[in-house]
Symmetry: C2
Subunit: 234 residues, 2 copies
Amino acid sequence: MTEEPGPAPTERKRGSGARMVYDSLRDEILDLVLPPGSAIDEVQLAERFGVSRTPIREALVRLAGEGLVNTLPNRSTMVSNIDYLNLHTYFDALVLMYRVTTRLAAEHHRPADLEPIRAAQFQFAEAVAAQDALAMIDTNAAFHTAIAEAGRNPHFLAFFNRLLDQGRRILRIYYNAYEDRLPREFVDEHEAMIAAIERRDVAAADALAKAHGEQIAHKVQSLFLRGGRLDMEL
Amino acid sequence: MTEEPGPAPTERKRGSGARMVYDSLRDEILDLVLPPGSAIDEVQLAERFGVSRTPIREALVRLAGEGLVNTLPNRSTMVSNIDYLNLHTYFDALVLMYRVTTRLAAEHHRPADLEPIRAAQFQFAEAVAAQDALAMIDTNAAFHTAIAEAGRNPHFLAFFNRLLDQGRRILRIYYNAYEDRLPREFVDEHEAMIAAIERRDVAAADALAKAHGEQIAHKVQSLFLRGGRLDMEL
DNA sequence: TGCATTATGTTTGTCGACAAGATTTCTGAG
DNA sequence: CTCAGAAATCTTGTCGACAAACATAATGCA
């Protein structure tokens, strides 16, 4: 009896218009389908999604709040550019959040939290084995998000997720442009982090996360510009 | 016929409708004029601001993106509640950002950056001297924001500002409920932080910021954990 | 009376339309 | 031919309206 809606393109449920537009646009921005700096036309998007301009507008407002698009008043909105000159500030923030979330996970996780972490790590290992850079970027983010959730600090989690989102764009450009081989050592480092979390070794978790993050930062950053780094004790 | 009495003959400029609503609502939420948990009626706000529901809606979407309101789909939107049970996660994040921003300011500031920091500190000292809790909350936030700007990391700055915003609500409740005397030692601690920044003493800046933040965290948390029943007037 | 179901009223999400800026095109003077 | 100013065109911000989802009151049945 219940008709499965499925991917019916014409039938949209009531509350999900703006949501679908937001999800689609967000994915396309992070996947570089919409390149940084490209202009966004509301009416064009409205036609494409088969909705009015209102849901488009709501999605753009939300994306602007997350810094993924820039809206100039009374003028066009554009996909946010990547600030290559200040990449070091991004990696400073990312490495710090790597450390804090891993540290908190070692401190506050419950046994059940390890399950999603291990699941994400499994998928990450598969992506690395398959040399699938795009899947590796996603599963790596999922792995660290699972750790952050085990740390149980919603403020850090929200900030971290935001940074990981932006990082997806940067890493995609990195792998697209340089075809670097996917580092298998990341899989081992992840395993070491899991082990440190499991035995609640805060210092080791911190150190591993720091080395892990700085390794990524160094790889990417050395291609663009070198900047001062943030180095602190916790 | 019902001619509107004219409380809103203010000629609004085109792009500023949603902006004004957003600023007003944000201030009222942070100032507890709109108490946490209270429902928000779009049409009522539309009448009050003399605009249509569209700008109201845009402002609410932005506020939801910043976590100041919660929107349930197809149901009413409410002012976000304060999670008293997990206040420690908030202060963990706040103290860390105190440390990081002060540390980066000591590292990367330029001489001209000290001017707005000193100006904010002057106003903060005035607020403390006048025993004006509300002004103290605002000027304290401005002081630390000025330091964060001198640190020149936009990611930390954005996250820090968000935390400081939420802190305004918590501190307002704290001072309203407890009538604590405003601690003059904060003024001296601020001065010490400025001095450490000026002489680029990263370790001292970090230690000062850590002690400063933990002191505030301890004060506030000890009140809420003491079983002090907080009743908000509606 | 108690409970389920219907009828009624509210609130929200979406739409099409329209005017204010902004952008582009056109025109004419120098 | 160049360029300033005007006109046409495009885009955005806002509005009023309407239908769907939700909440509430009313009704019927056991």
